[in-house]
């Protein structure tokens, strides 16, 4: 194992530290293990304002959940090394003390988890868990907190909330449980909400309701939201900005329009090719990304995606193999791509790839307008 590939990558064009509501800069999380350090997150940077939704997309093991947990301070600092900054409303969450973060957690910033059944304590009623969440951060009586809990359950669309408040999680359906999770996250009106695969464990019909609910509540509370998902449908549904992660790095980021309709990074294309589409004939084949996600213990040198990249031969020489690409702005400037391929070439790749995907002739406007559904 050579040392070079495991060094956290320091991206060349540093985004200027902004006064954004949440400003993450060069966030890196490393877990020391017996087999060597695991670089789960390598220099992630992004900005997020209130009322905005940022989607973090990527496969399992791409570092998207670890990123969010690092922001929430849920990474055990004895077990992992967290570097960089994550400035949330003026406070750097990485260097903040445990007490400072704990005061924010569940209060100004909250999190919704993937599997609501295992994320709710099986031995306590929904009401007790909500009341507990209220009373950590607010000095209110138990009965007042309970009234608040019932009110919140009502707001997230749980029927008969006064009765449901005394139910145990196992007595509720999956959608109801996720609503409870959302109620618990929003109970102290957080200004930052992180939703870690909020709809993965749910039926598709319920998924839409939950996403709609999150959007409604965002309008009401002016929340900044980070949605972590591997579901590109969810991304299109809710987000303003998208960050695509691979091997613990951001490989492409930009507005939803840029990343979703004008992707440039081969990995993003691959993700899109992997999604089954209703508007395609059943004979149309999926285009999976070949190979496996990289081991974070031993990242490939050069571009981390190169071993799976079908366009790698477009780069002369072995640049993809030896030189790690930087996250570079393309046009428009907010759109960042980590790829050695020439921008012109990337765009024509995209047009060709998406055209092939849709079974249409490769023309420029396919990429631009092909997916408004």
């Amino acid at each position: 194992m050579s040392a070079a590939p495991n060094e956290p990558v320091v991206a060349a064009p540093p985004l200027p530290a902004s006064g954004a509501f949440l400003s993450v800069r060069e966030l890196a999380v490393t877990f020391p293990t017996e087999d060597g350090p695991v670089h789960a997150v390598n220099g992630v940077s992004f900005d997020l304002e209130r009322d905005q939704t940022l989607a973090i997309v990527g496969e399992s093991g791409s570092g998207k959940s670890v990123t969010s947990q690092a922001i929430m301070g849920l990474i055990n600092r004895k077990a992992a090394q967290v570097t960089g900054t994550a400035t949330f409303d003026g406070l750097d969450l990485v260097s903040a003390t445990d007490a400072e973060i704990r005061a924010l957690r569940g209060n100004k910033m909250a999190m919704i988890f993937q599997d609501p059944l295992s994320s709710l304590h099986p031995f306590y009623t929904v009401g007790k868990q909500l009341v507990e969440a209220i009373r950590v951060h607010q000095e209110v009586s138990k009965s007042a907190a309970r009234a608040q809990a019932v009110d919140m359950l009502d707001r997230v669309g749980i029927p008969a909330p006064a009765k449901r408040v005394d139910d145990y999680p196992h007595q509720l359906s999956g959608g109801m449980r996720q609503r409870v999770m959302i109620a618990m996250a929003l109970i102290n009106s957080p200004s930052l909400l992180i939703a870690d695969e909020p709809t993965t464990a749910l039926d598709v019909t319920v998924q839409a309701q939950i996403l709609e609910l999150i959007k409604d509540l965002q309008r009401e509370f002016h929340t900044a939201i980070i949605v972590i998902t591997h579901d590109l449908g969810v991304v299109a549904e809710v987000s303003d900005k998208v960050v695509v992660m691979y091997g613990g790095q951001i490989v492409e980021s930009g507005t939803i329009d840029e990343v979703y309709y004008h992707p440039e990074m081969p990995y993003t294309l691959g993700l899109m090719g992997s999604v089954p589409r209703m508007d395609q004939p059943r004979t149309a084949r999926l285009t999976p990304i070949p190979g496996q996600p990289p081991s974070l213990l031993n990242l490939p040198p050069g571009c981390v995606f190169r071993p799976r990249c079908v366009f790698a031969e477009q780069v002369p020489g072995d640049r993809c193999k030896v030189e790690r690409p930087h996250l570079m702005p393309t046009i428009p400037t907010e759109h960042l791509v980590r790829c050695h391929i020439e921008p012109e070439k990337r765009r024509s790749n995209t047009v060709e790839f998406l055209g092939r995907l849709r079974g249409l002739p490769a023309t420029d406007d396919v990429a631009a307008t092909g997916d408004e559904s």
Binding site: F113, F123, A133, V136
Partner: protein
């Protein structure tokens, strides 16, 4: 819930009947003659025969068994010669007639010991407080030790506290109880200390709680420790593994993300959920102990149920063995029932149907 308990209680009774039947049968087919055991060296064939008739040992197996079982609620008597069975509970005026031996007057008649020439129930009643004292103190001690060490090890996972705690647990777990008991006895109660010339503690002697609470306590320290070491080691490992498993659960992450203090996360959310299998194990272990801590009682010469059971087994004293076996079985079966009910109390997902 009520129906469940009622059904389980019927099950308990059936289990006890089966248990008593098997034990009774084992002793009946065994190559020993209880009638011969009644008179020892003074036995003549005439006396043996007379006692056989007197104790009903000439009757068929099922008749003897039925008499024993009916005698538990009814009481039984053993008249001098060829007496007939009467339910003394319902004919108390028969007591004291004919120079017969009566086993009531205790609430539960458990037969008559031929070797000790005594009714069994008072023997059990004498021995039970000793075993109960031993069991209760032992359980409290090992639970405190086991939980504390287990939680500490889990919270310091992989660090020296964890490694040394688990190392000691392995040692405690590997040594046989009698060895630990003998070590304690030898080094603490028999070896004179170099500074005082006296052993640190007195050799334990049973002192009833009602007579001398302080003496009761000090005399039981060594047996308690001896019992607790092995089980504490077991419970430390169990607690550690349970805690580690629970602390990795998603709902613990949720609790942290709510901003709860770590103390609340670990004890209110973690321990509560990790406790369930520990409760089960404690219930059953405690019941086993109540049936008699045979080895500990033997080593420390405590006249509890375990020693009574062991002695009477060696002496082929059927009625005492039967009584101790039934009692031990009763405790274990009852503990199972209580643990199952507790499960439903602890875990709302469990319903008793």
């Amino acid at each position: 819930m009520f129906g469940y308990v009622a059904r389980r209680l019927i099950g308990v009774c059936l289990m006890l009947v089966a248990l008593s039947f098997v034990t009774f049968a084992l002793f009946t087919v065994a190559p020993a003659d209880p009638a011969r055991l009644t008179c020892g060296k003074s036995c003549t064939p005439q006396i043996v025969e007379a006692n056989r008739v007197r104790l009903g040992l000439n009757q068929p197996f099922l008749v003897q068994y039925t008499r024993y079982m009916v005698g538990i609620p009814c009481g039984d008597s053993f008249p001098p010669v060829g007496g007939t069975f009467t339910c003394l509970r319902f004919n108390p005026e028969l007591q004291g007639l004919d120079g017969a031996i009566y086993c009531p007057p205790e609430p539960v008649a458990l037969g008559y010991s031929v070797r000790k020439s005594e009714c069994v129930t008072p023997l059990i009643l004498d021995a039970f407080p000793i075993t109960a004292s031993l069991a209760i103190g032992g359980v409290i001690l090992w639970m405190i030790l086991g939980l504390a060490v287990g939680i500490l090890a889990a919270l310091r996972r992989g660090r020296w506290q964890d490694r040394s705690a688990m190392g000691f647990a392995l040692i405690g777990y590997s040594f046989p109880t009698f060895f630990i008991a003998l070590l304690l006895l030898y080094f603490l109660a028999l070896t004179p200390m170099p500074w005082s010339g006296q052993p640190l503690m007195a050799v334990p002697q049973w002192t009833p709680l009602t007579e001398d609470p302080v003496g009761w306590f000090t005399n039981l320290i060594l047996p308690w420790v001896a019992i607790a070491i092995l089980s504490a080691a077991f419970y430390a490992r169990l607690t550690r593994n349970q805690m580690l498993e629970t602390l990795g659960e998603d709902y613990i992450r949720t609790a942290r993300s709510k901003g709860l203090p770590e103390r609340v996360v670990i004890y209110k959310h973690g321990l509560r959920a990790g406790l369930t299998p520990i409760v089960t194990a404690v219930g059953i272990d405690f019941a086993f102990l109540l049936g008699g801590a045979i080895i500990i009682e033997q080593v420390f010469a405590l006249p509890g149920l375990g020693k009574l059971a062991l002695d009477s087994t060696l002496q082929f004293d059927l009625s005492i063995v039967l009584a101790t076996v039934l009692l031990a079985g009763f405790f274990v079966i009852l503990a199972n029932l209580i643990v199952d009910i507790l499960y439903a109390v602890i875990d709302p997902r469990v319903t008793l149907v």
